[in-house]
Subunit: 198 residues, 2 copies
Amino acid sequence: MSKGEVTRQRIIEEAAPLFNQRGFAGCSIQDVMDATGLEKGALYRHFSSKEELAVAAFLYATTRSTRTRTEGLDEIEGTVDRLRCLVRRFVETPSVMPGGCPLMNTAIDCDDGNPTLRRLALDGIQAWKGRIARIVEEGIERGEVRRQVEPRRIANTIVATLEGALMVSRLEGNKVALQDAGVSLDGMLDGLRCGEHR
Amino acid sequence: MSKGEVTRQRIIEEAAPLFNQRGFAGCSIQDVMDATGLEKGALYRHFSSKEELAVAAFLYATTRSTRTRTEGLDEIEGTVDRLRCLVRRFVETPSVMPGGCPLMNTAIDCDDGNPTLRRLALDGIQAWKGRIARIVEEGIERGEVRRQVEPRRIANTIVATLEGALMVSRLEGNKVALQDAGVSLDGMLDGLRCGEHR
């Protein structure tokens, strides 16, 4: 990386937790200047606007979250075990970024706000749901999951329950809500199995 | 109500959707002035600070949401039917306030922000969870729900799943995620029944 690229990357890494914690409206360019020790002119050499910086910070944050949530999942044999692992992973490490899940934060922060960030949050949620639905579909094809199960419903339920539980856990300052959600999701996932795989 | 009280109430009702949609940092006193047509001096005659106004707006919003979510539930016979009704009510009318659920919005907006609003969101979530847990406890006492069921887990799962599904539904601009979450929760709730109540 050139010196300019190194600086750009450093700005993104320092700005990502700020935007994640404070939201687009709540994080000012001054906040980023304070965190990076850079002047306004230096920031605007790398990003044409606060939105462009927020977009780069969001993509950096979600790429890191997604990696933590899904890395190595493909190696787990058995559809239900793979889904249970995905749930456990989230319960144990819901977010690697200070401020909680960047997808949920941006979704809530921008649902009546910045349309570009809102669109990116939607893409992120749909990509995550898509990955879960495909695991369920494969399970049906392999005969491990009952044919009546709707992959989309399972994906929506897992994403909604985990994200909602993270919100409650962060508010309460402990992991109880996440752990309770994990137990309930495990119960639902066990119910997906075909008779011979029970 | 005196003329002053009427004005105060009108300010709260006009400010509540603004704070709910834009968040504490994203909603300025200027926004409230624009919405109400009042001068800054008039607003500060009724509220000593933006925080005091935001607190009143939050309490107004959550009181309305809670009423919609729980009104008439006590009249429903049968624990599982009552819980299913609570879920259906949320799926059909997740929020009466523009901007989505004020509890979730404030929880996400203020988890690294305003501590007074954060505390109120925590109180609101815990009150809601408490009501659900008590319904489950009563069901266990009445012999309608299996003794092994943990009321706290059911409360955490219902609140997390509904709030998370609302986030996804608002982002996607349709009710599919909420409806899917409702079906999954119904499945979990049916599993709570004692043998003789199945």
